[in-house]
Amino acid sequence: MDAAAERRFRDFVAARSPALMRLAFLLTGGDQHAAEDLLQSALAKTVARWRTVEEPEAYVRQVMYRDQVSLWRRAGSRRETAVAQPPDWAVQDATHAVDARIVVRRALARLTRRQRAVLVLRYFEDLPEAEVAAVLGCSVGTVRSTAHRSLARLRTLAPELAEPYNMIGEAMA
């Protein structure tokens, strides 16, 4: 990488690292340390190909997603546990709203990487199923079934999510 390219890379990182770090944070289930490692690894791969990468942000995002998926593939089903230790349950006298958020976060953190990646792509990135499939390198059917299973598992992990539901934690009549 020459000096001019390095400057462009640094400018890119300075401008886009908040958004990329948010994504890494969610992909790793709220684990700041794992998120930093994931993003740093993706940026290092991007540096290696910087001269030919035309859409750096899209490239970094794709590398992070695929790294997560490949980790899942390599690790096998026995290792499909979340990398993060979610925070403890909120104390009983905390507000319902805070309880609800913690419940959902805890449940998201306990999904497999692939399940979480699909939900992040669908609900955080707001990508249609076809684009999720393209990013993860799988079929639309796989995306659909994974999303379905992910939501089902969320409900299992957090029974409070049984609909109807509202975010202040109160079941709707």
């Binding site: 020459d2 400057r7 640094r10 690292s17 944070f25 930093e36 290092a44 942000e57 609900y123 955080f124």
Partner: protein
């Protein structure tokens, strides 16, 4: 609110809790860091005005003369003496409050003979040129003075080679009296580097201007401006012979990758960005060649110390960035924070016992005051125990208007 909505809202709020760590770019670049100084040193950047000025061949250092002689290949080219003769005896000379410095930056072993200030010149909505303004030390006035040259390199002892434009048809060597001796070239060249013994010049050629780059837009994207390397020319100053050899970049990527001399001047190398070794070596005909021991294992610019005793390398853990490895024993000295500075990058050895580094002002245990791009040249003992500031702080090394040094042995 459906479960879809809950997941969407939770992800949105949760993501906001992510903290952006400092130094992401540095860490990503860390394993692929290359010689920023040398890289800058070979980025040509002449404006039309600079070219016009160069054509009149002003005295290189206001030393008089001003006439030029053009020596064709085969007719010999020998500098009458170094263009820059530093005062004796060699002592430590610093300018710790100035950035860029105005007084000589030097140790008894090495000197910052030159520096340049870089900037962008926009040539269209989507394209710009990286442009440099070079300053050379003038012993007569005891300060650095602006020159018209697009590219400069300094050999040990103060011999100066110049290009007058970013794709130059000839390379010049400055004489003490300000004259320039030129060698005409078969192909336009965009970089120049003296061989370690000062007897030859290595020049890299590209199919188009390698200083041209895309302008980064708000999305962080920019045009890719390919400039494939076509080959290199070696000029032998003893007989003025200049020979071109085709050599595309081994990375197969159409971007700048200047060729440089090995420490002993028998091979040339380019940055290797795709494999475990940091450098890819060739012989002087452009044929691939095995890397010399150790040097391709480090990204650090300072490389091997003068005797080959120590290698500046990446630190093994996060307590430092730069480490100095004893080549014989393998023992490693990490350059941890010293004298209120966090050491970021090695620049050049000063003998075997000291190394010149870029360092920021330490904040906390391992952070930088302001940012990691606010840094100064710092002379550090090889045992990491003592440090002396050489210059003031650059406000932001990544912003146009910043400067980069060029060191050579005295």
């Amino acid at each position: 609110m459906t479960i879809d909505d809950v997941v969407r809202e939770t992800l949105g709020q949760w993501g906001d809790e992510a903290r952006v760590p400092e130094g992401l770019a540095d860490r990503a670049l860390g394993r692929r860091r290359r010689n920023r100084i040398r890289t800058f040193a070979v980025i040509a950047g002449a404006t039309a005005a600079v070219v016009a000025a160069a054509m009149t061949v002003p005295a290189a250092l206001h030393g008089g003369g001003g006439e030029t002689s053009v020596l064709l290949a085969g007719r010999g080219l020998t500098a009458d003496g170094p263009a820059i003769v530093l005062p004796e005896p060699g002592e430590l000379s610093a300018d710790p409050d100035a950035s860029p410095p105005t007084k000589l930056i030097a140790t008894p072993e090495v000197a910052m003979y030159a520096y340049f200030v870089w900037d962008h010149e926009k040539i269209s909505d989507k394209r710009q040129i990286v442009k440099q303004t070079w300053y050379l030390y003038n012993p007569a006035t005891a300060t650095y003075e602006k020159t018209p040259w697009a590219v400069v390199d300094v050999a040990p002892g103060g011999y100066v080679a110049v290009l007058e434009e970013q794709q130059a048809r000839r390379v010049g060597v400055l004489s003490p009296d300000g004259q320039v001796k030129w060698v005409d070239l078969e192909r336009p060249v965009s970089s120049v580097e003296w061989s370690p013994d000062g007897g030859r010049l290595l020049l890299s050629s590209y199919a188009s201007n390698p200083n041209e780059q895309g302008v980064i837009d708000e999305s962080g994207s920019s045009d890719v401006v390919p400039a494939p390397r076509t080959g290199f020319t070696v000029v032998d100053l003893a007989d003025g012979q200049a020979s071109f050899h085709p050599l595309a970049s081994g990375d197969d990527i159409p971007w700048r990758n200047d060729l440089r001399w090995s420490d002993d001047g028998t091979l040339i190398w380019e940055q290797n960005s795709s494999e475990s070794l940091t450098k890819r070596f060739y012989d002087l005909e452009g044929r691939p060649h095995e890397a010399p021991p150790k040097v391709a294992e480090s990204h650090e610019e300072a490389g091997l110390s003068p005797s080959g005793r120590s290698l500046a390398s990446d630190a093994p853990d996060k307590s430092a960035v730069v480490a100095l490895a004893d080549v014989a024993t393998g023992s490693v000295t990490q350059l941890k924070p010293v004298a209120g500075h966090w050491i970021e990058q090695s620049v050049a050895w000063s003998g075997d016992d000291k190394v010149i580094t870029w360092a920021c002002e330490l904040k906390g245990m391992d952070g930088c005051q302001g940012s990691e791009f606010r840094n100064r040249l710092l002379l550090v003992d090889a045992d990491g125990g003592r440090a002396v500031p050489l210059t003031g702080f650059r406000e932001n090394s990544q912003q146009p208007g910043s400067w980069e040094p060029l060191f050579a042995r005295r």
